[in-house]
């Protein structure tokens, strides 16, 4: 299935490989991601305002938080065998957290297939960013690190603020709440902006993501084949766990896909920023490259159709 948004992602990668000077200024990337976060949050809130808050929602949100907290634990102990503790903790947090862009691409994917999904998954996304960061740090500071962490100017308050109030979490949750209390008339007047443009902006944004990911490909060699494998296998494992959870929770197909994608995705916005402040020794190039240049493309190209097929099969 030739989705133009995904093709533009490859066009971006190709531009880097062909050494084209095609480039998107960083402030444009920021504009597009602000728009997408606002739109997805707001639409999620509006949808949520039409559904009743029940145990299904509560159970899903709780499972989401748990997944975000548990994934870093198992990945940390796996990673410690191959890389230093600081890198292990940072990568673990990366894979426990989520990628808003992957989620947004999945929403676009469902829209094209006209599979309905619920707004509260947006809340699940926002809630999954921070627990992984906190667990990653706890593992690093109390389980693994020795004299490394003595006498540094680490402050939980600063890290927690960074983890919970970072720009993207803040904007998603804020937009969700605003969407929740907005009347239908107001929401309709914003629809040409939040709805009609969504796919188009996502397309241009994926071109940009392709350029960004493409520029990181060179750093893959440095990471080594082991970690690259890790960046493909862990999403599959997490997705499998996600599928199992959606079965237990009894989610519909669209919601199940979004939940699975959240489990499978890895962060490259919130986590790098938080790690820089709290584990500056960790090699940022490593964890950013794995999530951005391996896991992200894997999820949007192979993952989305694969997870959907599996979900269709287990739901049948």
């Amino acid at each position: 299935m030739l989705n133009p948004a995904v093709l533009f992602f490859f066009l971006g990668i190709l531009a880097v490989l062909a050494r084209s000077d095609l480039e998107i200024p960083q402030c444009i990337s920021k504009l597009m991601s602000l728009y997408l976060l606002l739109a997805i949050g707001f639409k999620g809130g509006v949808e949520l305002s039409h559904s009743s808050f029940g145990t299904e929602i509560a159970a899903t949100l709780l499972s989401a938080v748990l997944m975000s907290a548990l994934v870093p634990i198992y990945t940390f102990f796996v990673l410690r065998r191959f890389v230093p503790a600081h890198d292990a903790a940072a990568i673990a947090a990366t894979y426990g957290s989520i990628s808003a862009v992957t989620f947004i691409t999945a929403v676009g994917f469902l829209q094209t297939l006209e599979i309905p999904s619920s707004g509260y998954l947006v809340a699940a996304m926002a809630l999954m960013e921070s627990p992984a960061i906190i667990v990653g740090l706890v593992l690093y500071r109390y389980v693994a690190a020795g004299q490394d962490v003595e006498g540094d100017d680490f402050a939980w308050s600063r890290v927690l603020r960074e983890a919970c109030f970072n720009g993207s979490v803040f904007l998603i949750l804020g937009s969700l709440l605003i969407g929740l209390v907005t009347t239908d008339a107001h929401a309709a007047s914003l629809a040409p902006f939040t709805d009609d443009l969504f796919k188009g902006v996502l397309t241009l944004f994926l071109l940009d993501m392709g350029l960004i990911a493409g520029r990181r490909l060179a750093a893959l060699r440095e990471a080594g084949i082991g970690l690259v494998l890790f960046a493909v296998v862990v999403p599959l494992v997490n997705a499998a766990a996600g599928v199992a959870i959606t079965l237990v929770l009894g989610l519909g197909l669209g919601d199940a896909l979004l939940f699975t994608v959240l489990c499978a995705s890895a962060s490259y916005i919130a986590v790098p920023a938080a790690m820089r402040l709290s584990i500056p020794q960790a090699n940022a190039s490593l964890y950013v490259t794995l999530s951005l240049a391996v896991t992200f493309p894997f999820n949007i190209v192979v993952g989305l159709p694969l997870y959907l097929a599996v979900l269709r099969w287990v739901h049948a």
Binding site: S29, I212, R215, N283, A284
Partner: protein
């Protein structure tokens, strides 16, 4: 014209708030900042192309007297050690006005 020290700091954009706070704490309230700087150093390339300010540097320029310069470099040394970056000190003449 008055001889001054000219301090240049290059540091992770994410750390800029912290450094400016540090400057305020030691009583420095005059400085200039250029926010978008990319580069390469011991911790690899910083291409400034992510969706936030991770992987980007900022540049701070401070003109001050020798004593303040001393204070600033002492305060920054541990930060630079922990978070990376660079700090240069040179001489200049301040055009008085």
């Amino acid at each position: 014209m008055k001889p001054v020290k000219r301090i240049e700091i290059i540091i992770d954009s994410l750390d800029i708030r912290m450094v400016l706070q540090e400057l305020e704490d030691i009583g420095i309230s005059s400085y200039s900042v250029i926010r978008d700087v990319i580069g390469s150093g011991d911790r690899g390339a910083r291409s400034g192309d992510l969706l936030n300010d991770a992987m980007k540097n900022s540049y701070i320029l401070i003109a001050c007297d020798e004593e303040q310069a001393e204070k600033i470099t002492e305060a920054l040394r541990p930060k630079l050690k922990r978070y990376g970056g660079m700090c240069l000190v040179s001489d200049a003449q301040w055009v008085q006005h």
